[in-house]
């Protein structure tokens, strides 16, 4: 037994010990849970003394209850959920557990989706590990509701050993359900899946642990929409973990929308590995939560892999939106394009820490970073921080980072056309996000996101007329 690093780690351990017996064994094996909690105890939870955690609001961890929510809460009505996207299979999770009544699975060629637990409270019904191979009938697994340790068609990468990915260990230890998405074949149409995570219960009741594993076989394609929303007024504690494996020549388009409730604490860790010629379009829009931290770690493991990472983050009032992204170029000739646009209003703090590491063997790497922050309040804070570590000569790396206020000339131009200062400012903030929003290829989703952004920018009515 490892000695916990501090009082907080001790509490995590204690809560784990207390909850251990009730944690469903099918989602993560008891051994892996034990390893994760030990590793976490040894490393300790992050503190603001950790270089890459200094912008996060970690006080929220002190108050959190780490054991998962034991009693399911009533899910919200279907009408409260975001509109369904045409052609997408939807899987909804309430407080981290699959909610069949709010889901609409759909058979699609080459797509296999498995829910690790199935329904609320049905942790039994064991099937032996490895009993379900990749030949499983498409789509049907979505209804299986079995608690199985999956024998994934491809080994998922070990959890990132990065200190920044520590909170994924917390998810590993406490996870109560999860979605496993596997795509094979080279169908002309990409598979389409939407994952909707709804946090309802407050942190005083317990934590919610969304968990997603995505793997794409060679040449396959998937469009994945992952949304996190809040229902009710609870101050939820959400800690999600997503692992992504994009195979040879496969293409994953991944939209991530963080629209957690206004009082929520939201942590998220995404680890992705890209194979030879794989392409990963990752577009995140973060507007929700009182305190949010998103950690992204992408490994360019295959030659010629391509990553387009775009992120928009909005903070207002007391919100903290902290984002850390590490892209590791391991194999040669891979390409990264990173765009960040953040707006901080009120007393909010919005941070993007974008680190790119180019390893010795990654000759011919091409990486571009464009980080821009907009200060829209006298007490707001923007931190846009590019970091480059290069261990080889043959690279093309460009980066730019700016943080500034709205352009006075643009503002005056709009006023001179009769727009009120409020509308003019909102319009310019809107325009500022264009580099990210314009990359959303699904018109339906784009409209939803635009409305969410307009809503976040308060007084939505004046902007909505423009949409």
């Amino acid at each position: 037994m490892t000695e916990p690093r501090n009082a907080l780690s001790k509490r995590v351990l204690d809560e784990y010990e207390a909850a251990r017996a009730s944690l469903p064994p099918g989602i993560v094996t008891p051994e892996r849970r034990q390893e994760a909690i030990q590793a976490l105890a040894a490393r300790g939870l992050p503190t603001t003394r950790d270089e890459n955690w200094r912008y996060t609001n970690l006080r929220s961890l002190e108050k959190a209850r780490f054991a998962p929510i034991a009693q399911p809460v009533p899910p919200p009505a279907e009408t409260e959920l975001p509109g369904r996207l045409t052609g997408f299979a939807r899987y909804t999770f309430v407080d981290g557990v699959f909610a069949r009544e709010l889901s609409s699975p759909q058979e699609q060629g080459g797509l296999m989706v498995r829910l690790m637990r199935g329904t609320h409270g049905s942790a039994g019904n064991q099937a032996p590990a490895g009993s379900q191979g990749s030949a499983k009938q498409q789509g049907s697994a979505a209804h299986a509701g079995s608690a199985t340790v999956f024998n994934l068609p491809r080994a998922l990468p070990a959890l990132s050993s990065l200190p920044e990915a520590r909170l994924a260990l917390l998810n590993e230890a406490f996870a109560t359900d999860g979605a496993v998405i596997h795509v094979s074949g080279t169908s002309a149409e990409p598979a389409r899946v939407e994952l909707l995570f709804i946090a309802v219960a407050g942190a005083d009741v317990g934590a919610s642990y969304p968990r997603v594993q995505v793997s794409l076989d060679a040449g396959s394609r998937l469009i994945l929409v992952e949304r996190h929303i809040g229902a009710g007024t609870g101050a939820s504690f959400v800690n999600s973990s997503v692992s992504v494996d994009v195979g040879h020549g496969a293409h994953l388009t991944h939209y991530r929308l963080q629209q957690a409730g206004a009082r929520a604490t939201w942590f998220d860790t995404l680890s992705a590995v890209l194979a030879v010629d794989a392409r990963y379009d990752l577009l995140a829009v973060n507007t929700g939560a009182l305190s949010a931290r998103s950690t992204t770690h992408v490994q360019m493991a295959g030659a010629g892999a391509e990553l387009v990472l775009s992120m928009a983050a909005l903070g207002d009032r007391q919100q903290v939106q902290d984002n850390f992204a590490l892209v590791e170029h391991i194999a040669p000739r891979a390409r990264t394009e990173q765009t960040f646009r953040g707006i901080a209003s009120g007393r909010a703090r919005v941070a993007f820490n974008g680190k790119i590491v180019v390893r010795e063997a990654a000759a011919g790497t091409d990486s571009r970073q464009s980080l821009r922050g907009l200060l829209a309040g006298p007490e707001a804070e923007i931190d846009a921080r590019p970091q480059l570590e290069i261990y080889t000569d043959d690279v093309r790396c460009s980066h730019g980072a700016t943080a500034g206020k709205l352009d006075d000339n643009m503002l005056f131009y709009l006023l001179s056309r009769g727009l009120s200062p409020e509308v003019a400012q909102r319009l310019l903030k809107w325009a500022f996000l264009e580099d990210v929003v314009s990359k959303i290829d699904l018109p339906e989703l784009r409209r939803q996101i635009e409305h969410a952004l307009a809503g976040q920018m308060a007084d939505a009515a004046s902007l909505k007329e423009l949409l």
């Binding site: 131009y413 006023l415 001179s416 009769g418 325009a431 423009l466």
Partner: protein, 249 residues
């Protein structure tokens, strides 16, 4: 319509307008000409309400109201339009969004309903044809990637859509080739009416061949030093600004 009386304006502590007096009655087109640095653009910007100009003395009334007491957006809604010398590019703000928002702001001010979407587009497209602008420009960012001439045509397009009571065009002719100048002038001329006044701020007489003014004023060192009819512009063209700057000194 517009009365400027003994206007003194400082920029960065330096006095640029030094007692400018000018009256533009309703339905008239006035040209304000002057050499570089005479205060032409300062005048245009002060009338539109751009921040950074310190008014130390004098008054400006627009239809009997104190124009200087109004915020820039209120001036616009009351019907004052500034055609910018250097229109700014605003990527991400769609041209058509801006036009519609501007039009609705003015309509709301007058207690009118918002413009019907179909009527609005029909109107805008008609005015675009007049300005020989491609419809694809509507969905582009405001002035984004526009050439100098396109930007100026876009200014006039906005003016035609918004139908202001008083338009101040700041060096709208600068940077235009002769064809673009004719298009711009034609656009401006369609707006001339007995209810509307125009102030053309320009360095050269050339524009006035196409938009014939009722009165011409010469601005030198922050004051109107000479006023006359359109022949004054021709005389200026012939004799150069030295003719009047010499007198002003």
């Amino acid at each position: 319509m517009l009365k400027i009386d003994n206007l003194h304006v400082k920029v960065d502590g330096k006095e640029i307008l030094k007692g400018l007096t000018l009256a533009v009655p309703t339905g008239e087109v006035h040209a304000v000409m002057g050499p570089n640095g005479s205060g032409k653009s300062t005048l245009a910007n002060v009338l539109a309400g751009r921040p950074g100009y310190e008014i130390t003395a004098g008054s400006v009334t627009f239809e009997g109201r104190d124009l200087l007491a109004l915020a820039p957006e209120e001036r616009a809604r009351e019907g004052v339009f500034l055609g910018f010398q250097y229109p700014v590019e605003i990527p991400g703000v769609n041209n058509v969004y801006l036009l519609k928002a501007a039009m609705n702001a003015a309509r709301k001010h007058r207690g009118l309903e918002e413009v019907d979407a179909f009527e609005f587009l029909t109107l805008v497209k008609e005015k675009m044809r007049l300005m020989r602008m491609d419809e694809s420009m509507l969905s582009r960012g405001v002035n984004e990637g526009f050439s100098g001439g396109e930007k100026k045509r876009n200014e006039i397009l906005q003016m035609l859509v918004l139908e202001p009571r008083l338009a101040i065009l700041d060096e709208t002719d600068s940077g235009l080739d002769i064809d673009a100048l004719k298009i711009v002038a034609h656009g401006v001329n369609t707006l001339r009416s007995p209810e509307r006044s125009l102030v053309l701020v320009t360095h050269y007489q050339r524009l006035l061949d196409y938009i014939v003014p009722d009165h011409v004023h010469v601005l030198v060192k922050g004051r109107i030093v000479r006023s006359g009819d359109k022949s004054l512009a021709l005389e200026l063209e012939r004799r150069g600004y030295d003719w009047v700057t010499g007198e002003a000194a």
